[in-house]
Symmetry: C2
Subunit: 333 residues, 2 copies
């Protein structure tokens, strides 16, 4: 019998999400001045799936079931995520976020900058609640992760004005901007549950692979998704020439003729949106881009499975993580 | 004989400043992407007096002389200070900082936002270097201080569009925006030197009083300073109707006639700058504003002396702190 196969209570994902929601509701942001905290409350109220804190709780629940001990710091991660959204929306001059006006549109960019700063510090306040034996390592990983996310945003902005971004550069950028926060959330839960170093390292890798998969599928679904299921309009990335994995691969794989055609579409100022989406999708189809992105996603499906294999907890506890991988894998079809 | 009167080496302020400078020079900001760190290097290169880390070292040196142990985290405080300047300059749309173009003018506001974020995280990375028995308390005080500074900036921005700011509100705002970082720097040095709670509390109070004095004198010198000595043009605050302690007191103390005259000057769009400065200064003089601000500064001189008295180290070690108070007191004449 495995040394860690003692019985612990396994929460369902819905139960964990409800714990997160209840804890978030308890945080009322009532400090003065209200004008500083109101925008944080506004962006935090706009739920979403609470993916990052739920993953932190799931990772904790691999080892322990007293999940109230990870709740506060898991919420710190969610607040930190929302801080990055507040500042990204200023830098991107974005008008909408999950269907609602961004803070910088509803108020103004100064409000989004300063409330973002206050959100980041609030996140640190939640993170500092972890217990003593873990505090130094938690802070150390958190700071490293936070800096990685900054670097990812910097690369993302720089890529906008470059037309020679390589596949490797793109993967590195989404690793920094998106994947390390998923990996970091999962590592965090395992770390403060007392998991040994090599296991929370493996869970970090697992989460990063999951994050890469997630972003690659976002890129994929923008072109090949079903509007009703995907929840946003198809072709948005194509219309604004966003440097997705698909566009970068097309510029690498397409025939000389199709490359010229693609660059021509990218430079046009006046065009019929549906015509552009159809034309670019046709180029993607002809160039094997659809297969390339599917292969890349499958690669990270495999890598994430391998990472899970390195974790020495009973197989039934890992089952939910495997289900997430499968759901992700299925999402692309 | 006092239990702490064993001999420790007392560094001069210049020696401490040189230690800070040498350590700052060792930090090269060479990480990739350079575009993210270049603006941090730029603002950090623009030295100034390094007041905050020097005060942290001085406070440490009250108790211990192995000052290399406080260097890194003291520099974290200086980097944090510069992060607040980066974001404040975006929010104020400022063009110059210490005579050089601000980051948001030299590059753009997105660069200043994201490099500011990276500077804040860099600061946290330096802060986390403190030794184990102090880490939790250091992080706790640092987070609280960081949030206070955000709140201070929020109040400062709100005051710009209000014309009923009270003296108490103004003091509270400069306490949050300016004083807590001075107080926090001094507390930090004492805390990680192993000072008992009531002593680093007293040093925090001392530093906060010093910070309030410092800001009140800035307000005072803008009107009554000598251009050559003060290093910036006299009357700048008057010209832009900045809500300084002097303006707030004038709106409280002046005669009904002078109040009307003052509001009239504040509303004029076309005016001769020298005439406005002269007229407003005359109102200040007639209303007893000069005496009021001097009395307020003297109040904090007294409070800071009292705070120093609460610290149980040999008098000769505190001497340099008393000299700073005296120098501040003299600065106003």
């Amino acid at each position: 019998m495995n040394k860690r196969s003692y019985l612990i209570f396994m929460y369902t994902i819905d139960e964990l999400r409800n714990c997160i929601k209840a804890e978030l509701d308890r945080q009322a942001y009532v400090e003065e001045p209200h004008s500083l905290f109101e925008p944080i409350k506004y962006i935090m109220a706009d739920g979403g799936k609470r993916l990052r804190p739920v993953l932190a709780l799931m990772a904790y629940n691999l080892y322990r079931d007293d999940i109230e001990k990870v709740l506060k710091s898991a919420i710190g991660i969610e607040i930190f995520h929302n801080y990055t959204l507040l500042h990204d929306d200023v830098m991107d001059n974005a008008e909408l976020r999950r269907g609602r006006p961004t803070v910088q549109k509803k108020w103004n960019s100064n409000v989004a900058i300063l409330s973002g700063d206050a959100a980041a510090i609030t996140a640190y306040k939640y993170i500092e609640t972890v217990e003593d034996p873990y505090l130094r390592q938690v802070i150390n990983y958190f700071n490293k992760m936070a800096m990685d996310i900054c670097k990812g945003q910097q690369y993302d902005m720089e890529f906008e004005t470059r037309d020679d971004v390589t596949e490797a550069e793109y993967i590195h950028m989404i690793f920094l901007k998106t994947a390390v926060l998923i990996g970091g959330s999962i590592r965090h839960g395992a770390l403060i549950a007392g998991a040994p170093q090599h296991e929370h390292d493996a869970l970090y890798d697992f989460g990063c692979h999951l994050g890469l998969m997630f972003q690659l599928q976002d890129d994929y679904l923008d072109v090949y998704g079903d509007t009703a299921e995907f929840g946003k309009k198809i072709g948005g990335d194509i219309l604004c020439n966003k440097k997705t994995y698909l566009l970068i691969k097309a510029l690498e794989l397409a025939s000389a003729e199709d490359k010229a055609l693609l660059r021509d579409w990218m430079e046009r100022v006046n065009f019929d949106p549906n015509e552009k989406i159809r034309a670019v999708t046709d180029i993607y189809n002809r160039s094997g881009v659809r297969e390339a992105v599917q292969a890349e996603i499958d690669y990270y499906v495999g890598k994430s499975r391998e990472a899970l294999d390195r974790i020495d907890v009973p197989e039934e506890r890992k089952e939910r993580f495997r289900e997430i991988i499968d759901a992700m894998g299925a999402r692309k079809k």
